[in-house]
Amino acid sequence: MSETTTTPDTVRVPAPAAIEAPADRTRRLRVGSLMLVFALIGLLLAIFTNGGKATFQLVSGDLQNNLFGVPAQATALILGILGVIAAGAYVLRRVPQSYSGYLATLLGICFIGSFLCWAAAGKTFPLANQFQGTLNFATPLILGALAGVLCERAGVINIAIEGQFLVGAFTAAVVSSTTGSSAAALIAAALTGVLMAALLAVFSIKYLVNQVVLGVVLVVFASGITGYLFDQFLQEDAANMNTPDVLSAVKIPLLGDIPFFGPILFNQTILVYLTYIAVAVVTFVLFETRWGLRVRSVGEHPKAADTVGIRVKRVRYSAVLWAGVLAGLGGAFFTVGYAGSFSKDMTAGNGFIALAALIMGRWNPIGAMVAALFFGFATQLQSQLQIIQTPIPGELLLMAPYLATIIAVAGLVGRVRAPKADGEPYVTE
């Protein structure tokens, strides 16, 4: 077997420190300069940080107690210098190649830390809200990205996540409003997600329609049909049709009592817990089960899979349809999980961010989750910074996830490689 069947994300061969291929060297210098740029920006921010204390609020809504104050400039400087050291260590190859991921993470944390100190100097930054909001924004993104992982690992490009979100959000709102049952709402959302997935599957697998084209058209279709039904029914009778119950938070005993992270992670709605489970299940199924191996094989080399007796189309259908469940649930989050009532095009491009998260996460469930959390963090930070009024325009911060994705696919940060047969319909001669 050539390297095409191994997953790029699980293999990390520690290269001998002395020998470095020219390509690796180029990459190291490229990534290194990018890291240095970030480290220096962090340092610069630290230099321009006002004196005084940066206060972080550790419990949401509590402005008196549980505050955590640090001297802003000193902390920012320490973090900034640490970031420069991390970037420098990477560029100068002071640590083994296999630790470079940790260096990048360290730099990221330092950068965000000095950024926060800079932004919060002399003010109070609601840190608990920041993490809470990150999770809120990230939950649908994670579910959507997981749906994308399943589809694309099986070789079907799914650009229609946005469309699946929309129909899921719509159905959840309507079913919750009419039946009053949150369980029914979630099931219905999952089912309509599957319905959209079925359209994607039939048109791409049976009718061999270009999957990028198809995804774009399905998003337009979902936007049109939910918009039409919204105009015709939900607006006329909003009281009965569009007043869903928002899921209430369920506290998990013990885990929910952990200080700081407990209330954020384990005092959540059922949909958030489902998301945690989904990440674990998709990872396990994809990499540890027979079905998962089949899914990956039809996504990498369908002909070979066919030769050994795997029914390529059937596996693809099942992967795409299961993905529909996840995407539908992700859509439900927008209404019953968060905002309540449905409004037109309310998913506002989140499906495309989920697609970006999936690519940033290199078609890996865990990676996709991390990317989704990062995107959620940036989005939430933007609204927080508007509240505490920093000179950075929120719109520029909102661009961050998109720019980060472009940087990722342009190969500046490691190579991003799609499943080999992703997007190619399988035709037997």
Binding site: V213, V220, G224, A421, D422, E424
Partner: protein, 402 residues
């Protein structure tokens, strides 16, 4: 590329040239036309079902369906008939309506050309939206801040729009050529970057209209506005859109550059072997495509809207994709598809006013039309009498790695 499955290369659209005879004896363009027409009919059927579901009279009559089934059927027919009549008359029912349809079609044609041209070079340009926005920003900036004599001002503003779009598109081409970054992903991301850039610019003193708090710029100066036709909203930008279509036709079918673009689109490996620079072709295609989308943005801001708002692009950039798909990547097809979608948009507004059938119905119609056009096998299984065409199917079938 040796182990690619069989679907990749031959799907590029047949160049508009001498019509090739297909198995049925009909030329290919006629078969394609028939498939497109069938797709429109099927979409109207889907739309009719939606109208019937949403109509109050039908719902009321269905309540006593057992007693008088004909009531339900006649109510349904009335509802569908009235909605589609309003749609049709709203699109082409008079001079004003036609002018409105053409106004709506103008940016769709240019945006559609931006997507079509990139298609032909083997690139999927989802970024018309972003390119259009940047074009509109550039054009409007020149339009409301500079002072130039009549004619020249408009010219400079339009060129600024072209440059803006070309830059935004060019980035995609360069990234694709240099790093292999997939254009679909980059264009989607750049769309969002563009819209946030626009929203942010509209909060700055340079772009914000004095005395207003909402995101709106000053009105473009009269010298930089496209001349209107009579007292309709139709402006000379429409003629520019047609000229752009002629230009794209000339470029693709009569120029060396266009030949290279098509060659790269049909088979990048063979083109590389033949000594063409694939990367250069990608950059050229995206620069020109971006400029075309930028032109659409100029038309919106210098002809239709006049001030720059955060809604300048509406959904034009995305509709442009469906227009290009319906037009099958040819300039003439794109113009026709743009006219059809423009008419649907204009007629849809009238339909909404007169029969309370929401405008969103036209969005569904447009999506379903393209869905069927993209799956000719499905259309043929519904209408078995349709003749076969050669090279039928998707415009391109490539994955992320393609």
């Amino acid at each position: 590329m040796s182990n690619d499955t069989a679907t990749e290369p031959e799907q590029t659209p047949v160049p508009a040239g001498p019509a090739k005879e297909s198995g049925s004896g009909l030329p290919n363009w006629a078969v394609q036309g028939l498939v497109s027409l069938s797709a429109i009919v099927l979409a109207l059927v889907v739309g009719a079902i939606l109208i019937i579901i949403g109509d109050d009279d039908v719902t009321a009559a269905a309540g006593y369906f057992g007693a008088a089934p004909m009531d339900t059927i006649s109510a349904a027919l009335t509802a569908v008939g009235e909605a589609y009549k309003a749609l049709f008359l709203g699109a082409v029912g008079g001079v004003d309506q036609i002018a409105e349809s053409l106004t709506q079609a103008t940016p769709l044609i240019c945006g559609g050309l931006a997507v079509s041209l990139a298609f032909r070079a083997g690139l999927f340009n989802i970024g018309a939206q972003g390119q259009l926005i940047i074009g509109a920003i550039f054009a409007s900036y020149v339009g409301f801040t500079w002072d130039l004599p009549p004619g020249l001002h408009l010219l400079v503003a339009v060129i600024a729009g072209l440059i803006g779009g070309a830059l935004w598109g060019g980035v995609v081409g360069v990234l694709k050529a240099r790093t292999g970054a997939h254009e679909v992903i980059v264009t989607i991301m750049l769309n969002y970057v563009a819209i946030y850039l626009l929203v942010w610019l509209l909060t700055t003193t340079t772009f914000k209209r004095p005395g207003r708090d909402d995101p709106i710029s000053p009105i473009v100066k009269p010298n930089a506005q496209f001349p209107q036709f009579g007292d309709t909203r139709l402006h000379a930008g429409f003629l520019l859109a047609l000229l752009a279509a002629v230009f794209v036709w000339w470029l693709l079918n009569r120029s060396t550059v266009g030949f290279e673009l098509r060659a790269v689109g049909a088979n990048a490996d063979a083109s590389r072997t033949a000594g063409m620079s694939v990367g250069r072709a990608y950059v050229i295609a995206m620069v020109i495509a971006g400029a075309l989308a930028g032109l659409a943005g100029s038309q919106q801001v210098l002809g239709t809207d006049l001030p720059l708002t955060d809604g300048v692009a509406a959904t034009i950039g995305f509709d442009a994709i469906t227009v290009a798909l319906l037009g099958r990547g040819t300039p003439l097809g794109t113009v026709l598809a743009g006219l059809l979608f423009g008419a649907l948009n204009a007629g849809g507004l009238q339909m909404q006013l007169q029969t309370q059938t929401p405008l969103t119905l036209t969005t569904v119609l447009q999506a379903v039309i393209v869905l069927f056009v993209a799956a000719p096998a499905l259309v043929r299984s519904i209408f078995p009498f349709l003749p076969k065409e050669r090279g039928a199917g998707a415009v391109l079938a490539k994955g992320w790695n393609g």
